[in-house]
């Protein structure tokens, strides 16, 4: 296997948490509020439940094919040629998510904090740092997430606790006034963002306790759902659906509200610092997964020479496909959920069913 590093269960949890939360907490709450209105938090709960169900399939496949990730077991199940054609879709999906994540992160930094800095400077810097970390390997990423993950989690929970007095409960009522359709349509939007943690299948073979794959995913997605659910519900309760649905990053707007008389202000800077750190580490993890997956498909001894070219390719995707923040938001809202549902759910369930029908198993 190109990657020689080993991670423990705790690192596994924080790595998944950071990926889920960075992607979901930045732009998803406003899209979800636009979709489901006051019932947006119900979409988070139902997406959490469906994602846990999906995690059972991924964890089962990890145990059925010990020491193999989905790129490898797609070759074991479908054969050399078809398996490689299916397997390459996973690394390409991670590259797409990396583009979306860094573009979104750079937009937040550019719009809110560094409006005078050219956008491309922020974007290129983010890619450079992500690629640098990704090339160092999984153990380095895992150690960074062990520090940043708890900070990220507790910072969001603290922000949510501090803004609680500003919540107007009447803005959250009535629930289900338009029936169950809005929150049911919002569910796939949320599920596809949580679903990025299919990257767990890349981590399971490298975890010192592969049987803990489900537990790790369950813990990570539960914390992620709590964070996104809180941000979504509080944004509606404080700003109202009319304003919250058009906000760039509702979590950041919540952090901006914190002000203790005149001696504690601009707390959002601390939150942004953690968000940027987490976003960059999550992107480096995605770049690592791209390099590792591609190296396994082609049969390379090492994945490291593919990280910088992968980051450059991802950067070209950003520049060519998302010339403005509106393009990225549109892609994230209308196109990404379809692509993600196909890769995260469709492909994996297809591999699962094929393995059962053909009675394929990994070498123990």
């Amino acid at each position: 296997m190109p990657e020689k590093g080993i991670i423990n269960t705790k690192q596994f949890v924080w790595m998944l948490f950071i990926i889920i939360t960075t992607l979901a907490a930045m732009q998803i709450p406003s899209m979800l509020i636009m979709q489901a209105g006051r019932d947006a938090w119900l979409s988070v709960v139902s997406a959490w439940f469906l994602d846990v169900m999906l995690a059972l399939v991924y964890a089962y496949m990890g145990i059925r094919f010990p020491g193999e990730n989905f790129v490898q077991y797609s070759i074991t199940i479908l054969g050399k040629y078809l398996g490689r054609m299916v397997g390459i879709l996973f690394p390409l999906f991670f590259l797409l998510v990396c583009s979306l994540m860094l573009q979104g992160l750079s937009q937040v930094v550019n719009t809110i904090f560094l409006p005078m800095t050219p956008f491309n400077v922020i974007l290129v810097s983010s890619f450079l740092v992500s690629a640098f970390i990704g090339r160092k390997g999984l153990e380095v990423i895992a150690r960074m997430t062990e520090v940043l993950g708890p900070l990220f989690f507790f910072s969001i929970v603290t922000v949510c606790c501090l803004v609680l007095p500003a919540v107007h409960m009447e803005r959250l009522k009535p629930q289900l006034d338009e029936g169950i359709a809005p929150f049911l349509i919002g569910t796939p939007l949320m599920l596809t963002s949580f679903g990025v943690c299919i990257i767990m299948a890349m981590y399971i073979p490298l975890c010192n306790r592969p049987e803990n794959g489900f537990l790790a995913k369950f813990s990570a997605v539960s914390m992620g759902a709590l964070v996104v659910g809180l941000v979504t519900a509080l944004s509606v309760g404080i700003f109202g659906i009319e304003d919250a649905q058009y906000m760039n990053s509702p979590g950041l707007q919540l952090a901006k509200m914190i002000n203790f008389s005149n001696y504690l202000e601009r707390v959002e800077m601390v939150w942004l610092l953690i968000l940027v750190g987490s976003g960059i580490v999550a992107s480096s993890s995605l770049l690592w997964a791209f390099g590792q997956g591609l190296a396994q498909i082609v049969g390379l001894k090492t994945y490291q020479p593919l990280i910088y070219p992968g980051a450059l390719l991802s950067l070209v995707f950003c520049i060519g496909s998302f010339p403005s923040s509106l393009n990225q938001t549109n892609f994230f809202h209308y196109t990404f959920p379809i692509v993600a549902a196909f890769v995260e759910t469709g492909l994996e369930l297809f591999l699962f069913a094929t393995a059962l029908v053909l009675n394929k198993r990994g070498a123990a």
Binding site: V298, G299, P305, P309, G310, V316, F317, I319, Y334, T335
Partner: protein, 99 residues
């Protein structure tokens, strides 16, 4: 007034492909930057791979960099990127499902 007319109000007949496709100055700089970055990566990663005889790794890396340069050139010439094509294909479905 089109971009071409704005850039060339007197209507000189010198054909400039950059004006034709409306390439912005910033995009032009980024394309040049990407080509230089690809060359730098190919040197920094390629030389050690060549010395160690890892030709397969070198071939995959070069293919990735080649694809990157081709996509950057496509952007420069105003061609749609793969993600734009994907968006054209799937966005109508997404708009039918989501608000």
């Amino acid at each position: 007034m089109s971009i071409a007319e704005a850039a060339d109000p007197k209507g000189s007949r010198v054909w400039n492909p950059l004006i034709e496709v409306g390439v912005l100055e910033e995009d032009k700089h980024m394309t040049v930057l990407i080509v230089f970055a690809a060359l730098a990566i190919s040197l920094a990663e390629g030389i050690p791979l060549g010395k160690q005889g890892q030709w397969k790794e070198l071939a995959v890396m070069s293919t990735l960099l080649g694809m990157t340069i081709l996509l950057a050139a496509g952007n420069y010439l105003g061609l749609p990127s793969p993600l734009s094509l994907l968006e054209r294909l799937l966005e109508p479905i997404g708009k039918a499902i989501f608000k």
